[in-house]
Symmetry: C2
């Protein structure tokens, strides 16, 4: 099975349980949550949407099954991580004042701030509810891991908000932020896959590390896409993260380790006197590349995938499952969806 198929299968397995969970919400909250998840339009009419790739539940199910876990024991965890992911998206869109996600208007931009706060809160609570009533002997341990990961996610977002107002962010801080914002939830997804299968603590810990490394790789690739997009597909870069002068990992690598080109990039980022033209943005992207930021981010992503592979060395998986997880990690980096 290809990595894409694995994730797609995860999403298909989880969707009925996710719909079931969301159906518990009160009418107003359910309408908004179902819109956000891509199941209906803002008036409640069903749509054939794309509610996201389901990477987190897909990973959780794959890890669990590779350890012999029964799908029924894994599903509450898969639903919970997807709910926490969507809680964070709804709140992040509000905080960042983003008006679009997946080519659709964001929740706050349609229903206002209060609704975005409340629907996010409801999804976070619902995640804990689903996990708590799973009946799993590992429910309390899973709740603890999910709570810790959510706090890490929030810590990452706190740093992200703070970094916007700073121009002295170090690479270490920047990677730490990515570990929080992206690594924590991927990490708890793979960890819960092991935990809910009844794996011993050291195996769950190994899978937590696997997911954390895959998460940082994932974010590095996201940062590259935020500058260069899919040039081999669309033929043109997007520059979106440069337009917003976002301090992503390749940019911070460039400004802190990139010599003259890096210093020129730092000057360009600091000069907010005028709106950048397309030519300015292309020049800034070239500075990131000449400073070595693009190359570094790509190499670092591959190094993280290797660390993810190594994390599972002592776990005793059979070769087929190990290869499947490696493929999945590689796929996250290739993003060949």
């Amino acid at each position: 099975m290809t990595a894409v198929a694995v994730v797609g299968r995860g999403r298909e397995l989880v969707e009925p349980a996710l719909r079931d969970a969301v159906s518990r919400l009160d009418d107003d909250t359910r309408l908004v949550a179902s819109y956000h998840l891509g199941w209906n339009d803002s008036d409640g009419r069903p749509v054939d949407g794309n509610g996201g790739k389901g990477v987190r539940p897909g990973l959780l199910m794959l890890v669990g099954e590779s350890l012999g876990g029964a799908p029924a024991d894994l599903l509450p965890g898969a639903v919970a991580v997807e709910l926490v992911h969507n809680f964070s998206l709804i709140h992040d869109d509000l905080m960042d004042r983003d008006t679009e996600r997946r080519h659709r208007r964001t929740v706050w931009s349609i229903w206002g701030d209060a609704t975005a706060v409340l629907v996010g809160d409801a999804l976070l609570s619902l995640a804990h509810e689903i996990l708590a009533e799973s009946g799993s002997p590992h429910a309390a341990a899973a709740e603890r891991s999910l709570s810790l990961a959510t706090r890490e996610l929030i810590r990452g977002q706190v740093l992200d908000v703070a970094f916007e107002r700073r121009d002295d962010v170090t690479l270490t801080q920047c990677i730490d932020m990515a570990a929080g914002k992206t690594g924590s939830l991927l990490s708890v997804s793979t960890e819960l896959g092991a935990l809910l299968s009844g794996a011993p603590a050291e195996v769950s810990a190994a899978f937590a590390e696997f997911g954390a490394e895959v998460g940082i790789a994932f974010q590095l690739v996201d940062d590259l896409l935020g500058i260069w997009g899919w040039p081999e597909r669309t033929g043109k870069p997007v520059f979106s993260d440069l337009r917003s002068r976002k301090k992503t990992m390749p940019v911070v690598w460039a400004t802190t380790h990139g010599g003259l080109a890096g210093r020129q990039l730092a000057d360009w980022l600091a000069d907010t006197s005028s709106e950048p033209t397309e030519a300015d943005l292309r020049q800034a992207a070239d500075l990131v590349e000449r400073a070595g930021g693009r190359h570094w981010a790509h190499e670092e992503a591959l190094a993280r995938v290797a660390l993810a592979h190594n994390a599972l060395a002592g776990v005793g998986l059979d070769l087929a499952h190990r290869a499947e997880l490696d493929r999945l990690a590689a796929f996250v980096v290739e993003r060949d969806l």
Copy 2:
């Protein structure tokens, strides 16, 4: 022991554990959370503050001890309900755009929207973390009850936000909203007191009902205070809820069951053409009273306290503990703090 002393003792027992929990947060989040809890000013300097009355943890500890629960088994629950309460206050202040709470500026009004969202989210996650790692054999059941109560709380706030834009709110809907916004968290506080003591399911359910009824009584008194304040203390009414034309329970009773005076009140509420003067507000308060809304709310609060008493009839508490719980319920209504 007086009811005030009981709640005060609950707060004192819980505060060290609450401080311990909050100390886990990252530096930025901890500063803001500690400010909100009344422990420091907005620069982090310790203050002798009043971080709220601790009614919820006080109730939880009292219920638990009356059933023979050990304080150490109850503390994680007490910390969790206080954290959820404060999560909801921080988010509510943001949504309602309230700039003051307990005579201090609110979190969003000092640090902005994003910080209020994130600090609230962090406290909600922390609540689940503390409960999940309690080691209690009842942790998963407690997590489930806390999640359900939080969703009820959110449902109440969703209704509250929606009611602001409606002028056809019925009394039943209004009481349902109060049950969500105030009843749910008081109910889970008393329920967890029983649950974490290892009480049988029917005893926990009886205590959940006790807390729910006390919660509605509590909100009825709050609604009365929002119109008439503490006239016997300050000598003047506050009218604050009338100024914001809030559809509180006594007001909705008056407009839906209050005859001519009630209809006059409804007309006054609907006419938003000008800012009301003090004389207008006094007249509106008189209409609520003449329509019978003040009397009804007071009687209804007493009736709810009686229902709370009855809920514990089959629980088999000794008389001293039962009397203490009755006193506490009565005290919530008298609010003689």
